[in-house]
């Protein structure tokens, strides 16, 4: 069961790297959140685990997609315009990152959760990768989400006893961040008519930018 969930998370990571359609990205990120939530139950069905799973699924698979979809609808940006790294190259780099992450996770004392550690790493790197290589603020926010999801999966794999308070605090942070970003993206796109962050390079005090 856990292995299947991890594979599904891995597939959502690859999917995140391979497309620039924002709605598809949001949907994929929502599924990833759902699988991450279920992952918490794999350490045994306790009250803490159930709370964590329910909170994760509620926030990542329901609330975030809602906020992001609303921001996308308002900004009118539907696709990523020309990412810095092409989608094909992204998939190849994704595969390479996966290999590196498996090697790295081999050196950790995570025992039978070795695979969860490597997939957690991989999800983190996917998040980093999206933040670095995509232009619209939406993809970057989704990258940030994946990054947090990776930390979550990684945390699950390393600690024997789940630190529910820590996870909850993390979730709250991310929630606040996404909430603020939703507003910021809306501001960016209404100010510059597009959510492309590369245009922020042209900001200066002179009157040249119009």
């Amino acid at each position: 069961m856990m292995e299947l969930l991890l594979i599904l998370i891995l597939l959502t990571d690859v999917a995140l790297c391979s497309t620039g359609r924002l709605r598809v990205l949001v949907r994929t990120a929502a599924w990833q959140g759902f699988f991450l939530g279920l992952l918490a139950l794999c350490k045994g069905f306790t009250f803490h685990a159930a709370t964590l799973a329910a909170a994760t699924i509620a926030v990542k698979a329901v609330i975030f997609p809602y906020i992001l979809n609303r921001a996308i609808r308002k900004s009118g940006t539907l696709t990523e315009p020309l990412p810095y790294v092409s989608y094909n190259l992204s998939i190849v780099l994704c595969a390479l990152m996966l290999g590196l992450c498996v090697l790295a996770a081999d050196r950790l004392p995570s025992g039978q959760w070795r695979m969860a550690a490597s997939i957690g790493f991989f999800t983190m790197f996917t998040g980093f990768f999206l933040i670095i290589t995509r232009r619209t603020a939406f993809s970057q926010v989704i990258g940030y989400l994946a990054l947090e999801g990776g930390i979550y999966a990684f945390g699950l794999s390393l600690w024997q006893e789940m630190q529910v308070e820590v996870e909850m605090g993390l979730l709250l942070d991310v929630f606040a961040a996404i909430f603020i970003m939703g507003i910021v993206i809306y501001r960016i796109s209404s100010e510059f008519e597009h959510a492309d962050t590369a245009r922020l390079d042209f900001l200066n005090d002179s009157e040249e930018y119009d």
């Binding site: 292995e3 299947l4 991890l6 594979i7 891995l10 597939l11 690859v14 391979s18 989608y87 094909n88 998939i91 190849v92 994704c94 595969a95 996966l98 290999g99 498996v102 695979m115 490597s118």
Partner: protein, 295 residues
């Protein structure tokens, strides 16, 4: 003995796979459709005909279909069928198999270039590009098999594939199914029904072949479908050696299920835009790489 039976079964049933795919497509389109045995009739008809050769074509053109068919027969000989035994079993058979597929492709590309037709040259160029992209997922999936089982022949490797978890095998089978679609020129990459469109690949390369040559090519294509289908199926069904009726039935059912699935994919999907095809094959690579690292 059972290996020989498997070989003959494959030879006899391979032309049925395209027939099943066509029948499924016809069902989805609400048509009656041609008989599933249509390819058999076509082959018989073509074999009775004479061949026409262009004056500017050389022996390379005549050699193409022969090499193609021979390579497919060789590939079939190292691939175990339902019984778990291969007709020809030796260490390194897995690599031999991959190279035979490449050899058949090489012969087809040379024959296409030999006609001097720019149209066929274009098809050959695309075939070369996509088959080059389809090779890494195939090799990574085979590497996963070798890494886990230590056997360099299919006969040694497949029984031990049961040691692998279900998920790596499923991932590898999914990757190999994408390779199957691309290598057999099925829909997300190429549309086997289009004969005069600028986006087609396989069909354009064989336009100049006629009569028995074309029969060889069609039969070779059917065998290729069988061999790659068997590879995909055997990742999911790791039988031991020896003949068992249940295994044989399961294997044939899996082969027809793959044909059925291909028909469904063809009915439900449009062909990908030409420049999106590499993304599909790279996704296959990512899948088989994931299988490799999780195995």
């Amino acid at each position: 003995m059972t290996a020989l039976a498997d070989f003959l079964i494959a030879l006899a049933l391979a032309p049925l796979l395209p027939g099943i795919i066509n029948r499924v497509k016809a069902f989805f389109a609400g048509r009656q459709g041609q008989s599933p045995f249509q390819l058999y009739y076509d082959l018989l008809k073509l074999l009775r005909k004479g061949a026409v050769y262009s004056t500017c074509a050389t022996y390379v053109f005549r050699l193409g279909p022969v090499i193609g068919l021979a390579a497919m027969l060789g590939a079939l000989a190292v691939m175990p069928g339902g019984s778990g035994d291969a007709l020809h079993n030796f260490d390194g058979g897995i690599i031999f198999f991959a190279y035979l597929l490449a050899l058949a492709r090489f012969a087809a590309i040379l024959a296409a270039l030999d006609t001097g037709s720019s149209f066929e040259g274009m098809g050959a160029s695309r075939e070369a590009l996509y088959s080059a992209l389809a090779e890494p997922p195939l090799f990574v999936a085979l590497a996963m098999l070798v890494k886990t089982t230590g056997g360099l022949s299919f006969e040694a490797a497949f029984p031990d594939a049961a040691l692998l978890g279900g998920t790596p095998r499923l991932l590898a089978a999914a990757a190999l199914f994408l390779v199957f679609l691309a290598e057999n020129c099925r829909i997300p990459t190429d549309d086997p029904n289009t004969h005069l469109e600028l986006t087609m690949m396989h069909e354009v390369m064989v336009l100049d072949h006629s009569g028995p040559d074309f029969a060889f090519i069609s039969y070779g294509a059917a065998l290729k479908m069988w061999v790659l289908g068997a590879l995909t199926a055997r990742f999911l069904l790791p039988f031991g050696p020896g003949f068992e009726l249940r295994q044989e039935a399961l294997f044939l059912a899996a082969m027809f299920a793959i044909a059925l699935l291909t028909g469904v994919v063809e009915s439900c999907m449009a062909r990908l835009r030409l420049n999106r095809v590499p993304a599909m094959l790279l996704a296959a690579l990512a899948l088989s790489f994931a299988a490799f690292v999780t195995a």
